[in-house]
């Protein structure tokens, strides 16, 4: 080493360079290394991503049962935090590593997955199709070019604005602990009463506002409850997919919406909202409510599932009623339920993926869903027979009786999905406006909403033009449903007429 001469130096350098060259030559694109021997139909190992933590055990036992029946089939299951799963999927797509089965949390409409050829059709058995029901397999949402790419597993008869309440707190504040609040006024005075009785330890209402999608969903639900007649492209659609049913316009500045905003604001003004709600995520807000930081909490039926596993004591202490409305009569509508799982077009084992997905369309699995108390399964009767707390049964039956099917522009014309994909996000979004208004950053809600609606309309007009110029026929007329009657289901047969 001391007197390393020229020759040694060259050898040393050459070794390094050689190693580098070898490395470069010896390797090939990771993404090109596809298992070549596995025939497409044989059972094999697949990867599976979703965000359904409460369903993890159910899913994994289903996977295990399938693996037992089909030797060689196995699933690498990853449950993601939904906040991270979107970016994970995006990066996976970038690097050609999409899992064999995934949920669409890309944020793009499902149709885009099909258009970009990222997903493959599911091979559904006749029994599965019967179980799902042909009325619920819709063009533009599940069926593309006559092929089934995904199917709904949860009922559209649901929303995320049920009122859960602490019975004791409601009673102390002078409310009926069996009924809870029905009207906006009742909700408001109850929240105020609970806050007063709480003496700084308990507030009337808690909400997790950090993730603004959630408050957007509440606002849309409340507005429908207040009489807005809307079309929704799918179950709890983002605001670009929510329009007036008769004109197709964006009407976020109409009085049902403005009133809903003002209703929530009145809770803030009264000091009934748990103070740090704007910085809580929903999961924490739910836990704080269960632990007694507030008396009222707006949520979907999955709330009971979480309570059961993490706050078992509070199931018995809690009551549920439908979302508050101005008059106390909850009538609400929701868009058709979208597909849940998608099979990657790159999957080496689409057979296994389809096989397992078929077992998800069975009565046994629906029962499993009901027992895990997440979103209600498509077949609501299963819940009645399931061994679950009354609180869950009541949540589901409240929604079964009050939620009807709204028309969907995507089902009317699948090209609408392309328009939605083309539209740039308008910020502040509806949820961000809510955050700003409740937090005191926006004072004139009406003008903020008018501004938002008109920007959204302009952007939609541009997107419609852009999509039409590429040869896909679509127009504002796709968003208009003159024959819609509020309170009735706009089912598959209506689109044909």
């Amino acid at each position: 080493m001391v007197n390393l001469d020229r020759r040694q130096f060259i050898v040393a350098g050459g070794l390094g360079a050689g190693a580098l060259a070898l490395m470069l030559a010896g390797c090939s694109r990771t993404s090109a290394q596809k298992p070549s021997s596995a025939p497409a139909t044989a059972a094999g190992a697949i990867s599976w991503w979703d965000q359904f933590q409460p369903l993890q055990k159910l899913e994994e036992s289903t996977f295990a049962a399938y693996g037992k029946a089909h030797s060689g089939a196995s699933v690498k299951h990853t449950v993601y935090d939904p906040n991270n799963m979107g970016s994970a999927l995006q990066l996976a797509q970038q690097s050609n590593q999409l899992p064999d089965v995934f949920t669409n949390v890309f944020g793009v409409p499902d149709m885009v997955l099909v258009q970009r050829k990222w997903v493959a059709p599911i091979d559904l058995t006749a029994a599965s199709k019967r179980m799902i029901g042909s009325d619920f397999l819709l063009p533009g949402l599940h069926v593309f070019d006559g092929k089934i790419f995904s199917f709904p597993m949860f009922s559209f008869r649901q929303h995320s604005t049920l009122t859960y309440f602490d019975k004791d707190a409601v009673e102390k504040a002078g409310g009926d602990p069996e009924k809870g609040p029905a009207t906006w006024d009742e909700f408001r005075s109850l929240a105020h009463g609970i806050t007063k009785a709480g003496g700084g330890d308990m507030y009337g209402w808690i909400e997790g506002l950090t993730l603004t999608d959630r408050i957007r969903a509440h606002i849309v639900d409340l507005a429908i409850g207040a009489g807005a007649e809307l079309s929704l492209v799918s179950n709890s659609a983002d605001s670009p997919g929510v329009a007036d049913v008769k004109t197709g316009d964006y009407v976020f500045d109409s009085s049902p919406f403005v009133d809903s905003f003002e209703f929530l604001k009145s809770l803030v003004k009264d000091g009934s909202m748990f103070p740090s709600s704007t910085s809580l995520d929903v999961r924490t807000a739910r836990a704080r409510w269960a632990a007694g930081s507030s008396g009222l909490f707006l949520d979907g039926s999955w709330n009971v599932g979480v309570l059961k596993t993490q706050f078992a004591d509070s199931v018995a202490k809690s009551g549920v009623t439908n979302l508050p409305t101005p008059e106390g009569k909850a009538k609400i509508s929701n868009g058709p339920a979208g597909g849940v799982f998608w099979i990657s077009a790159e999957s080496a084992n689409p057979g296994t993926a389809s096989g397992i997905l078929n077992t998800f369309a069975t009565p046994e699995y629906a029962r499993g869903l009901a027992e895990n108390m997440d979103q209600p399964p498509s077949d609501l009767d299963v819940v009645k027979k399931a061994d679950v707390p009354a609180l869950y049964k009541q949540s589901v039956s409240l929604m079964a009786d009050s939620v009807t099917l709204a028309p969907s522009a995507i089902v009317k014309n699948p090209n609408v999905a392309a328009v939605l994909a083309e539209m740039q996000q308008i910020r502040p979004t509806l949820g961000e406006i809510a955050q700003g208004y409740l937090g005191g950053n926006i004072s004139n809600i009406k003008s903020a909403l008018t501004d938002y609606s008109s920007k959204l309309s302009t952007e939609r007009d541009r997107a419609i033009k852009a999509v039409s110029s590429k040869g896909s026929k679509t127009s504002l007329n796709d968003w208009v449903f003159k024959d819609y009657k509020a309170g009735t289901d706009y089912d598959a047969s209506k689109y044909k007429s």
Partner: protein
């Protein structure tokens, strides 16, 4: 203060006063330190509670019932035993790569004049300011091209091969200050370039290496996106930071499991800090003199 130790005690009276002063300092610092780590004490206590207890007991640090099973759950069920091993392997390798790469580059940049030096400096500084968040996609493309995606080597390279400009500059600054006599002495002993560096210079730079090690260790240990992307197809290769994902679902968080995981992932980094901290305080000055 630092300089307090320099004066030699003149008599017992001042010595006594000094001792009192030092204990006053300790008590004050200890009070601040306890407030400082309170949030982490809370984390530790949460890791021993059940969810209901976390949310209802508020500030009370002592759990009603000690739930050591949270640790068992994180360690076995959530796969933390495997993740811990992965994290250790990946982080140690990354630290080794960073130290070698930055020390060698810092050495020649700090001590030598050569053709192209200015260009190297300019490029190093130029890339220092571009936010690193967006480099993930090109790095993934590159790794894919080299066939390194989904491999541990690829992950280690992605974590250690880029960035760390500050480390290079630290080494360069340090080596530039070392008196030439030291090198001459080594050469008189017959040491060449290689040996001078590895047996004289690198050991001298212990404090810098300690600093770079700790900073790299912390950054690598807690990096989320890079290990996430490199373990998509093989969850068993995940690191602790990615493994934390498992505790947060759509509707609920496993708070106590998360707290147990966070506490466990804290320990190795703390050990590194405790082991290396003497270098921050008993380092260069003495070494340079001798």
């Amino acid at each position: 203060m630092t300089v307090a130790r320099l004066g030699t005690p003149r008599n017992h009276k001042t010595q006594g006063r000094r001792r009192t002063l030092i204990w006053v300092q300790v008590v004050l610092l200890a009070v601040v330190a306890i407030i400082w780590i309170y949030p982490l004490l809370w984390t530790f206590s949460a890791s021993l509670k059940d969810t209901q207890d976390i949310f209802s007991s508020g500030l009370n640090l002592i759990p009603q019932i000690f739930h050591w099973d949270n640790y068992a759950r994180a360690w076995n069920q959530a796969g933390f035993s495997q993740y811990m091993l992965n994290s250790v392997v990946v982080t140690l390798s990354s630290v080794a790569v960073v130290v070698m790469r930055c020390a060698t580059a810092g050495y020649v940049l700090g001590r030598y004049r050569f053709y192209g030096k200015k260009v190297v400096f300019a490029v190093l500084l130029g890339t220092m300011f571009i936010p690193t968040g967006l480099s993930i996609i090109p790095i993934v493309e590159l790794s894919d091209l080299l066939g390194l995606l989904n491999t541990q080597v690829g992950l280690i390279l992605a974590l250690s091969a880029g960035g760390n400009v500050a480390a290079v500059l630290l080494y360069a600054g340090f080596y530039a200050q070392i008196p030439k006599e030291l090198e001459d002495a080594a050469m008189v002993d017959g040491a060449g370039f290689f040996r001078t560096f590895f047996s004289v210079m690198l050991p001298l730079s212990g404090p810098i290496t300690a600093t770079v090690t700790v900073v790299t260790f912390v950054a690598t240990w807690s990096n989320f996106f890079v290990p996430l992307v490199f373990t998509f197809s093989d969850p068993s290769k995940r690191t602790l930071a990615v493994g934390m994902l498992a505790f947060q679902g759509t509707n609920s968080t496993d708070w106590s499991g998360l707290a147990a995981g966070a506490t466990m992932s804290l320990i190795p980094v703390l050990l590194v800090f405790i082991l290396l901290q003497r270098y921050f305080v008993e380092g260069i000055a003495g070494a340079v003199k001798s």
